[in-house]
């Protein structure tokens, strides 16, 4: 009992400052989505894709194009993952999941590239190769996040499971 508290409180200590994305287990990929949906899915409404574009723009403007698609894909990977909310809005607005939601940067108007990137991710492209987290190693202070199994780096972002 005491061991557990100590071990876990230690883990809590680690979770400092700006955490971009958190919690959850590992899933391989969401690739075969559209015509293979594992459960009847509601069509992704244009409004949800617009919200996704905003997140891409706020989180990844100035990043390489495939890095922008990858950020959108992380959101969709979470939607399909059992340990995360199952809507785009649920994932994006999950408390403290994304810094740009907390600081209001999400409400900027996305440019065409961010919109195309969000659309590509919805259409099934995932340059993150199934990532559930991404962070900027120059800013991330959470050792827990940094310790997630790393998949790759695109531009300034590290993508992880």
């Amino acid at each position: 009992m005491v061991d557990g508290v100590m071990a876990l409180s230690k883990r809590l200590l680690l979770v400092l400052v700006v955490v971009i994305l958190l919690a959850g287990a590992v899933k391989l990929g969401r690739r075969p989505s559209p015509p293979l949906a594992e459960r009847p899915r509601v069509e992704l409404e244009e409004q949800e894709i617009a919200l996704l574009s905003r997140l891409v723009y706020a989180e990844a403007q100035g990043e390489p194009y495939e890095g922008q698609v990858a950020v959108a894909a992380v959101v969709l990977n979470r939607v399909d993952h059992p340990l995360f909310p199952d809507t785009i809005a649920g994932v994006i607005y999950e408390p403290h999941a994304f810094t740009v939601v907390a600081n209001g940067a999400l409400y900027q108007k996305p440019d065409d590239r961010a919109q195309a990137a969000a659309r590509d991710a919805v259409d099934g492209w995932d340059p993150s190769n199934g990532a559930l987290y991404f962070y900027n190693p120059a800013l991330a202070r959470s050792p827990w996040l940094v310790s997630r199994p790393k998949i790759k780096t695109i531009g300034k972002h590290v993508f992880a499971k």
């Binding site: 557990g4 919690a23 559209p34």
Partner: protein, 448 residues
């Protein structure tokens, strides 16, 4: 003079007090939102526990069905409420995993019960119930700690986000709620772990066999894939290794018009995906011409056994999903996606991770098309039908007849399992995630 100072001072004080009130109101509002989610979470967890206990004693089909539906409903609601609380840093993986298992398992049991398949689920349900009972006990402790002060959840949020958990040397976080949550996860991990029979949510990708490709081989494969004309003398380089469904190397081509990124398998040097960042500003080809370019591209890359099954118009581009077609069966999981620029017909994006998914499902249909069609709603006017391998209602791979049809001005697609006649899935419209279904073989002979 003094009067002026006094006046200014009181204005400043009033203004400051006003700000304080505003901030307090915002905090209270936030606390209220969190409390509501918390209480509703507790409500659904209690309902979950209660129904799991009751189903152990239920005998009739009717009662069991009602309870199964109630349990899966409460599991889904509890999951939703949990994700509205500012607990993201704590991850709570075990709690969330339990809710997922309960939800999926009971939904599956309800499906089995309805289709007359009876399996003894008592042991698994009992183990899930014990875990739910444990969670509810912990929730009660948290409820008691919530009564301690006015802004408990906002304070918990602050503590979690700043890492200000109190004296660490003491070994315990100072915030009682944070401690409760940690104990909850810890305790769940200590309960006996009964394996819940659920299909794996993770598809298993298979890496191609053979020796690891050299840098030269990778560059040659990428050049062949893109076509020598498109690459020209643009630099094409290996960026580095990457990890994903299968181990890959990332390559990059920096051309005049476009920057292309590709990932190739380390063994065999096969392209898994490719994306160009070129913006397509003009349109000279029709969608059909574009698709013809796509089909030609695939067959020249040794992928001739693929047939277009879904399509989406994307401005000056068209996105097409091709599926493997073997002896008139469309294998949906083995798919390739293309995005084609309608200015010059170039492939602007490619996605083929589905080719690395093994499919083991029996391709021999036990029902004929006519027999399967008899399982459909009699008013459904079938316009198209094809035999497909797809993912069924239980997330398992199935062989099914895909019937597209109309009923009262609505379009539907219904999947009938070709082995056992089960109605696996019904979707509405001819759109799936923004992709339009391309026609299959035409209506089944007779019957309709």
């Amino acid at each position: 003079m003094n009067r002026v100072v006094a006046l200014l001072l009181s204005i400043a004080l009033l203004w400051g007090y006003g700000l304080h009130l505003q901030r307090r109101d915002l905090l209270i509002q936030r606390e209220n939102d969190y409390r509501r989610s918390f209480q509703e979470l507790a409500h659904h967890l209690a309902g979950l526990e209660d129904q799991l206990a009751r189903i152990l004693a239920a005998r009739s089909k009717e009662q069991r069905m009602l309870l199964l539906l109630g349990i899966s409903h409460d599991a889904a609601r509890a999951q939703g409420k949990l994700s509205q609380l500012p607990l993201t840093v704590l991850s709570l993986e075990r709690t969330k995993e339990l809710l997922r298992q309960v939800g999926e398992y009971t939904t599956g049991l309800a499906f089995d019960l309805a289709s007359g398949k009876e399996e003894d689920a008592g042991w698994t349900l009992r183990s899930l119930w014990q875990k739910a009972r444990f969670i509810n006990g912990e929730m009660e402790k948290m409820q008691a700690h919530l009564g301690d002060g006015p802004n408990r959840l906002v304070e918990l949020e602050r503590v979690l986000m700043t890492g200000a958990l109190g004296p660490m040397d003491a070994g315990e976080p100072a915030d009682p709620l944070a401690k409760d949550l940690i104990m909850l996860e810890d305790g769940l991990g200590r309960l006996p772990d009964e394996r819940v029979p659920l299909p794996s949510p993770e598809p298993t990708y298979v890496e191609p066999s053979g020796p690891e490709s050299t840098e030269e081989e990778l560059i040659r494969a990428a050049r062949d894939f893109l076509g020598p004309k498109r690459v020209g003398d643009a630099p094409l380089t290996v960026v580095g290794p990457s990890q994903g469904e299968v181990p890959t190397y990332k390559l990059e081509m920096r051309g005049q018009q476009e920057r292309i990124v590709l990932e190739l398998t380390r063994k065999g040097g096969q392209v898994v995906w490719m994306i160009s960042d070129r913006i397509i500003a003009e349109r000279h080809l029709s969608v059909e011409e574009g698709m013809a370019r796509g089909t030609a591209f695939l067959s020249s890359r040794g992928l001739a056994k693929l047939a277009p099954v879904f399509r989406a118009d994307r401005g000056n581009q068209v996105a097409v999903i091709y599926a493997a077609k073997e002896e008139d069966v469309y294998i949906y999981p083995r798919q390739v996606r293309l995005r084609i620029g309608l200015d010059n017909g170039d492939i602007t994006a490619y996605e083929a991770s589905g080719l690395f998914l093994p499919t083991g499902v029996d391709r021999q249909a036990r029902l004929t098309r006519e027999e399967a069609a008899r399982k459909l709603h009699p008013a459904l006017q079938v316009t198209n039908c094809r035999l497909v391998v797809t993912v069924g209602s239980r997330r398992d791979e199935i062989l099914a007849y895909e019937f597209c049809g109309r009923m009262e001005d609505e379009e539907y697609t219904v999947y009938i399992n070709a082995q056992n006649g089960r109605e696996e899935r019904i979707s509405r419209g001819d759109l799936e995630r923004g992709f339009r279904r391309l026609s299959g073989e035409g209506p089944p002979p007779g019957g309709q």
